[in-house]
């Protein structure tokens, strides 16, 4: 059974002139790492909001179709249940700080406080997450004094401590420098190793190609492409939809076009590129 399923979902913002998404059908299995790509304004964040139940509960608009979480229709779940089951991390690293906690430890525990988890269990789970995500060095720091990358790591921890079934991460590195980006992806790497179900929206396509198992492309209100990473990220039509290909794929396609040399396959990650290009020299 799919862990998350969207059936015939369409949505139009109240103040919008047109629908943003139409007839979206999507099924995600437990443990999948799905990347969602598309140009700005295509509807990626809207889709994430729908998957998290923020639409229709917190946004004005008309939504048709259903969202199923582990077989249960989201309309039948309470807000608290959704909050626990679907984690969400936003683009802006600094806005996810509650502002009322003085240490990162307490900041992470905040979600458990809201869910009414008994104190002993709260402490145990928070400690466990800190260890798992290797952020012991941040434990006693003040949440408002962290760098962008550190804030995002704490945001991820704060949401994971609630033990959600799915984690949706919306452009977590767009405001970060390379070091911050690396820190965030270190955490994402750990999550991948633990087979967490993850939906990631990202523009940094080279990183997407390294981590995602599956990629979906959103444009013109629909999911236009949906398939394994190495297949989708080497499809040159992506360029027409405002999405770049990984550098090595672009390079390979250019080499084929400009020199007439053919590669056995178009690589999407650098490891594969090394193999393929070695064959040519």
């Amino acid at each position: 059974m799919a862990i998350l399923e969207l059936r015939d979902v369409s949505f139009k913002y109240q103040l919008g002139k047109e629908t943003v998404l139409e007839n979206i059908n999507l099924s995600i299995e437990k443990g999948e790492f799905v990347a969602c790509i598309g140009r700005n304004g295509a509807g990626k964040t809207t889709l994430c909001s729908i998957m998290r139940g923020l639409i229709p509960n917190f946004q004005n608009g008309t939504m048709t179709g259903d969202v199923f979480l582990n077989g249960q229709n989201m309309k039948e779940l309470s807000l608290g249940e959704i909050a626990q089951k679907v984690g969400f991390v936003f683009q802006n690293p600094f806005i996810q700080v509650s502002g009322i906690k003085k240490t990162v430890f307490e900041e992470i525990a905040y979600g458990l406080e809201n869910l009414g988890v008994p104190r002993d269990e709260m402490i145990e789970r928070t400690n466990a997450i800190i260890t798992q995500l290797k952020i012991e060095y941040l434990r006693d720091k003040h949440p408002m004094q962290l760098s962008g990358g550190q804030s995002q790591r704490v945001a991820l921890a704060s949401v994971l401590v609630m033990d959600p079934e799915i984690l949706i991460i919306d452009e977590p590195t767009s405001q970060l420098d390379p070091q911050g980006t690396e820190e965030v992806f270190e955490t994402i790497h750990i999550l991948k190793q633990r087979h967490k179900t993850i939906i990631l929206v990202e523009h940094k396509i080279d990183l997407v190609s390294e981590y995602a198992d599956r990629v979906i492309l959103i444009d013109q209100k629909h999911i236009l492409l949906d398939g394994p990473t190495s297949e989708i990220l080497t499809d040159i039509s992506l360029l027409d939809h405002g999405v770049s290909l990984p550098q090595v794929a672009l390079l390979a396609l250019r080499v084929e076009e400009e020199t007439g040399k053919k590669l056995d396959r178009i690589p999407s990650v650098i490891e594969d590129a090394v193999i393929e290009f070695s064959k040519l020299v």
């Binding site: 140009r39 304004g41 590129a273 090394v274």
Partner: protein, 269 residues
């Protein structure tokens, strides 16, 4: 003529923290320069001193060969335009037209003059179709271009871009590239702070690297990205194409895809 010159500039915050130490650089009129480096290296501080937003504790700054220590920030800004990273800090007018025209109206320029300038700037930023729209009805990435247009409308000689690629998709990056090329052809001096190595290689020949409050390198992209000790010091990675060439055992100066293809043909079977 020199556009910007920094002479032994040091900047200290009120709390005593030194952000930039003994930095010197000269950028000539019409040059395109990228300034790269880790967060905390001092890039933004350095660049904010170029238009007077921040004032150095020591050292001198010259814009168009004039010392700016006695000038107000606003007066320097008439020669040095600054495009902020977050457009939300700047935009407040009801329409894209008003936003672009704002400063010109503040200076009471004649209507035809303003109209002309707005039209040109909007065209360069591909905003001609949305001049009547409220900026907040447009997506974030388009708002970025509104702030760029506002700076272009002032016809400044020097333009500073602060992280222009953050949050942009492919179309946005291509639009930025076209704008930079047009400005360059017009003879403007362009300075960019960015983290996007591929964007840097695509658009800039001269690169200045900052690390730990100083300048650690100032040279061309071909030399820079194979200087491993320097890259290590500045905590920078090679761009992907260079990494690939490195892994294939090719020696050093492949940086762009053109370089790669050329070398491949030379070495090919």
């Amino acid at each position: 003529m020199e556009a910007i010159r920094l002479e032994h500039v040091t900047f200290t915050y009120d709390n005593g923290f030194v952000a930039v130490e003994d930095v010197s650089m000269t950028i000539n009129q019409g040059e395109k320069v990228a300034i790269i480096g880790q967060n905390g290296a001092g890039k933004t501080t350095t660049v904010k001193m170029m238009n007077g937003l921040l004032r150095p504790k020591e050292g001198k700054i010259f814009v168009n060969e004039e010392d700016i220590s006695k000038k107000t920030t606003a007066s320097v800004s008439r020669h040095v335009g600054y495009v902020f990273q977050n457009p939300g800090d700047q935009i407040f007018n009801q329409s894209v037209y008003d936003e672009i025209a704002y400063t010109l109206r503040y200076f009471k320029k004649p209507k035809e003059f303003i109209d002309e300038r707005v039209r040109i700037a909007a065209e360069m930023c591909e905003l001609s179709d949305v001049l009547d729209v409220n900026p907040y009805d447009l997506p974030f990435s388009i708002r970025k271009f509104i702030t760029i247009a506002a700076v272009i409308a002032l016809d400044v000689e020097i333009v500073i871009f602060d992280e222009p690629t953050a949050g942009q998709d492919l179309f946005g990056l291509e639009r930025q590239k076209r704008i930079i090329e047009t400005l360059h052809k017009q003879g403007k001096t362009i300075i960019t702070i960015t983290h996007d190595m591929e964007f840097v290689i695509d658009n800039f020949e001269r690169i200045i690297v900052m690390a730990n409050k100083n300048v650690v390198a100032d040279s061309s992209r071909h030399l820079l990205f194979w200087d491993f000790p320097m890259l290590e010091r500045a905590s920078l990675k090679q761009p992907v194409v260079a990494q690939l060439a490195n892994r294939l055992g090719w020696d050093g100066s492949v940086v762009t895809m053109e370089d790669f293809i050329q070398t491949l043909c030379q070495r090919g079977k």
